[in-house]
């Protein structure tokens, strides 16, 4: 009888060729069967295996059959070898998986209706796909703590835990904070912490992501939204110069959570807790939604956009006319590349030559992701010609404001008053203070004219991280009130000064910027995709 199995493809010296469910695959030596199957487009179900963590081999969900090997083997820890014949869906494998599922669910409370994980839970997915659908267990289930504050931001439900140890391995291997361990044994086994040392590290939220079930939940997201209603909008975090790739989980024009999106070049599978909660600023800080003008003495009051832009332009024109030395701009490196590019061009058109980009530094670069530089786009500011963030220049400008030498100031996305760099009274005295920001900052309130901008999550644009990777932030929300993207505001502000460029979208701005900046040569907004692209020479 002829051999019914397909022939093995040729393998290079560092490779092995094998058959998985009759599909020929070639992988590097040392690749596990689970990864090889992935390469062949086959899913071997698994709980404890996670691509970013060491292999534990404890859940047994990934059992597969290998020809000439008498017992089923775990795919996550078995290396593929030359000529191996693997089967992932034989009756033996199916029976084994049904058994595993029955065991995992034996004491499970089946409280999916009140579980935040429902909809993205491996237990639900695998029970539907591989389970027997029923349980033969008729005794009372074992009960465990269900709302245990295992850390500052994470709640543990021991009844849902399948003891895959992903959370422990995350803390041991990635955050290196090592708070978690498995206590007790057998069916008493439970995840826990050392008394007085709760789960509390700058990356604790990732334990919630790696938990394949609803045992670990993120406090700020608990009971906020059913995950199947959330639309995941791919973006980049603007919390620091790393630019972790993220998804903005959006429902009804509101971001409900921010989760890391895998990018092996940037953040791998992780993000920090501060970044994870950074979306909350948009709803927690007082929002600035309509243009404001402050007549000489009164508190500011809302005015229409056209009028606001006219008045702002008039203020700046007067200040420039009194001498170019008397006007300056302070610009934020938290703005997108598109914002910064148009800002740079607009400042030239208006005739503001004195510009400082404000730095924001805090803490230290750590071993994982967090950067001391809390601006997400310092590289972008330098690229478009505004210069790198420079505390000295900001200080000089503000000193000249206080001394009366600078009479006109344009502040874009910065809050020198709130940051304690200058007394509010000094800025209020300025004949021409124009502020652009997304929230009602003290500087906005002191401005002669203030123009409301879109906040993070509302604007589209590109950030260039500290390694020189240009990454796109996508808009997840409709802009609040009458807010506009900064690039559009600056273009409008510069128009009375003869600035002619019109842009339909952030992508048009990017393409214009790319055409003029050698490091961006050949890039287009589209070509950045969801993973970003490295600058030339970075």
């Amino acid at each position: 009888m002829p051999d019914p199995t397909p022939p093995l493809p040729p393998a290079g010296p560092d490779e092995v060729a094998l058959l998985i469910d009759d599909r020929p695959v070639v992988v590097r030596k040392g690749t596990t069967v689970l990864r090889a199957a992935e390469a062949a487009g086959l899913l071997i179900p698994h709980y404890c295996y996670h691509p970013g963590l060491s292999i534990a081999g404890n859940c047994r969900m990934c059992l597969i059959e290998i020809d000439k090997v008498p017992k089923l083997q775990i795919g996550c820890a078995t290396a593929a070898t030359q000529g191996m014949v693997v089967r992932t869906a034989t009756p033996r494998v199916k029976t084994a998986r049904e058994g595993i599922m029955e065991f995992l669910l034996i004491n499970h409370p089946l409280d999916c209706p009140i579980c935040d994980q429902a909809g993205e839970c491996r237990l639900q997915q695998y029970e539907a796909a591989y389970g027997a659908g029923t349980s033969r267990f008729t005794d009372e289930k074992v009960h465990w703590p269900k709302r245990y504050d295992i850390g500052r931001s994470v709640v543990f439900d021991a009844e849902r835990c399948i003891k895959c140890t992903r959370c422990i391995r995350f803390c041991d291997e990635i955050s290196k904070s090592r708070e978690l361990a498995l206590f007790q044994r057998g069916d008493h086994a439970i995840i826990g912490t050392f008394p007085g040392k709760p789960l509390d590290n700058p990356y604790s939220g990732n334990t919630v992501d790696v938990c394949p079930v609803g045992a670990l939940t993120w406090k700020p997201f608990r009971f906020k939204a059913r995950v199947w209603f959330l639309r995941d909008v791919p973006s980049a975090c603007a919390g620091c110069a790393r630019g972790c790739n993220v998804n903005l989980g959006t429902y009804r024009n509101r971001v409900h959570r921010m989760t890391p999106r895998a990018n092996l070049e940037v953040n791998r599978y992780w993000m920090c807790d501060a970044g994870r909660q950074s979306y909350a600023a948009l709803t927690e800080q007082p929002r600035f939604e309509r243009p404001l003008a402050r007549p000489a003495t009164d508190a500011s009051e809302p005015i229409p956009w056209d009028e606001a832009v006219e008045r702002a332009a008039a203020l700046l024109r007067e200040a420039v006319a009194a001498g170019a030395d008397g006007v300056a701009a302070i610009v934020s490196a938290r703005l997108s590349l598109e914002d910064l590019h148009v800002t740079q061009r607009a400042l030239q058109a208006i005739g503001i030559g004195r510009v400082a980009v404000a730095p924001h530094e805090e803490g230290q670069d750590d071993h994982l992701l967090l950067r001391r530089d809390k601006t997400p786009n310092a590289r972008g500011a330098a690229l478009v010609g505004l210069g790198a963030p420079n505390a000295g220049r900001v200080k000089e400008i503000l000193e000249d404001v206080s001394s009366g030498r600078v009479r006109g100031l344009l502040v874009v996305g910065e809050d020198p008053i709130g940051d304690g760099l200058i007394p509010a009274s000094d800025l209020r005295r300025l004949p021409a203070l124009v502020a652009i920001d997304w929230w009602k900052s003290p500087t906005v309130e002191a401005a002669g004219v203030a123009l409301p901008a879109c906040g993070y999550g509302e604007w589209e644009g590109t950030l260039v991280n500290f390694e020189g990777r240009a990454q796109r932030c996508r808009a997840a929300l409709k802009p609040q009130g009458e807010t506009e993207p900064v690039w559009r505001i600056l273009a409008a502000l510069a128009r009375p000064f003869g600035f002619g460029a019109e842009y339909a979208s952030a992508s048009a701005v990017f393409d214009e910027a790319a055409a003029g900046i050698p490091a961006l040569a050949g890039m287009s907004y589209r070509s950045l995709g969801t993973g970003g692209a490295k600058l030339k020479g970075a």
Partner: protein, 157 residues
């Protein structure tokens, strides 16, 4: 900061560390040394041994909790562990336990107020041929009846 163990135990643990290619392997013998000195393994000692070996305190606490023979809270000087598994049960472990509870005036799991005895029910200790039996600290005692129990307990200080 003062050590949570005696300098002698500390020195013995140092000696252990060099004996294993992986430092982590020294954890179990080190825990035994600590328990031998203290009677149980206090949290500070877990923290101390974790630092010494280079594992997390949580991991040490997990290991301690895995083995029921490690005590996490102080117990009596004499730990009476009555085997209650089938062969002993058939040979009268129930009445041995009942007698001990009455005699010591405590329930299983409890400790006498003077801190002399702790009474526990345990699974098979591998001495079924002498059932019913119990173990007190490291010593085994078989063929128990009330008279023999009285004599054994009387011999303990």
């Amino acid at each position: 900061m003062s050590l949570p163990v005696s300098t002698e135990t500390d020195r013995q643990i140092d000696g252990l560390l060099g004996r294993f290619p992986q430092r982590g392997s020294a954890l179990l013998p080190a825990l035994h040394l600590i328990q031998a000195e203290k009677g149980h393994i206090p949290l500070e000692a877990m923290d101390y041994i974790a630092g010494k070996i280079g594992v997390s305190p949580a991991f040490v606490a997990g290991v301690v909790s895995f083995y029921t023979m490690f005590q996490q809270t102080p117990i009596g000087r004499h730990h009476i562990q009555v085997c209650c598994t089938l062969p002993c049960a058939l040979r009268g472990a129930g009445s041995v336990m009942g007698y001990l509870e009455r005699k010591l005036g405590i329930r299983r799991g409890g400790t006498t107020p003077d801190g002399k005895f702790t009474l526990s029910a345990v699974e098979c200790l591998g001495a079924c041929d002498t059932a019913p039996m119990f173990q007190i600290n490291e010593e085994e005692y078989g063929q128990l009846d009330e008279r023999r129990i009285d004599a054994i307990l009387a011999s303990l200080k």
